[in-house]
Amino acid sequence: MSRKRLIGIFSAALLLSSATMAFAAGDPQVQSAGLWVFFGIAIACGFGIGVAALGTGLGMGNAINGALQGTARNPEAGGKIMTTMIIGLALIESLCIYALVICFILVFKIPDMGALFQQIIK
C-alpha cells in the first residue's frame, strides 16, 4: 500500500473518531464537523449500495445470459446448468446483501446518531 493511501486512511479514521468524541463536548465547530462526517457517510452509503447493486446486476445478468445460451445450445444439460446458475446467483446476491449490511452499520453504528440528533435539536 502506498504511503499517500495510508495517510489518507489514517486521517479519515482520525476525523471520524475525533468528530464522534467531540459531540459530547458540544463545541459548535466540532458539531459542524460532525455533520460533515454524517454527510460523508450518507454519500458513501448511497454510492456504496449503488455500486454494489450495479455490480450485482451486471454479474447476475451475465450469469443468466451464459446459462440461457448454454441451455439453448445443449438443452439436455439444462438441469445441470440451472443448478450451477442458482448457486452462482446466490453467491452474487450475497455480495449485495453484505454491502447493504455495511451501509446500515455505517449509518446506525459508526456515528453516535443519538448524540448527533440531540446536538442538532439543541
Binding site: 442458482i86 446466490a90 453467491l91 446476491e93 446483501i97 449490511v101 446500515f104 452499520i105
Partner: protein, 130 residues
C-alpha cells in the same frame, strides 16, 4: 429426483447443520446479541436462498414461465429483496443484534457453497488422477 433437487436437499441439510453448530458454539462463548445476530442472519440467508432457488426454477424451469406467471415471478423476486432489506434494516437499526454476528450468519450459505465447491473439485481431481 433431478440435479437441483438433490443438491438443494444436501445444501439445506448442511445449511441447517452449520447454523445449529455455529449458534451452539456462539451461545456458549459469545454474548447474547452476537448469537441472536448469527441466528437471525442464518435464518435470513437460508430462507433467501431457498426462495431464490424456487423463483429461478419456476422462471427458467423445463416448462418456462407462462405469461401470467412471469409477472408473479418478478413480483415475488422484488418482494423477496425488499423483505430482506427491511428485515436487515430493522435488525441493525434497532440494535437488536450484533452486526458482526449478523454478517457471519448471512455468510452461512456462501461458506456452505464454497466448501461444497472445494469438495467437488477435490473429488473430481482425485477421479481424474485414477
Amino acid at each position: 429426483m433431478n440435479d437441483w433437487e438433490k443438491l438443494s436437499k444436501r445444501l439445506r441439510i448442511v445449511n441447517w447443520g452449520l447454523l445449529l453448530i455455529l449458534v451452539a458454539a456462539s451461545s456458549l462463548s459469545m454474548f447474547p446479541a452476537f448469537t441472536a445476530g448469527l441466528a437471525a442472519g442464518g435464518l435470513l440467508s437460508i430462507a433467501n436462498f431457498s426462495a431464490l432457488g424456487r423463483s429461478v426454477v419456476s422462471a427458467f424451469g423445463i416448462y418456462g414461465a407462462d405469461k401470467a406467471g412471469k409477472v408473479s415471478i418478478i413480483f415475488k423476486f422484488y418482494m423477496r429483496l425488499a423483505l430482506v432489506g427491511i428485515l436487515i434494516f430493522i435488525l441493525v437499526g434497532t440494535s437488536l443484534v450484533n452486526p458482526i454476528g449478523l454478517a457471519i450468519g448471512l455468510s452461512i450459505v456462501v461458506i456452505n457453497i464454497i466448501v461444497l465447491g472445494i469438495v467437488r473439485a477435490c473429488n473430481f481431481s482425485s477421479r481424474e488422477a485414477i
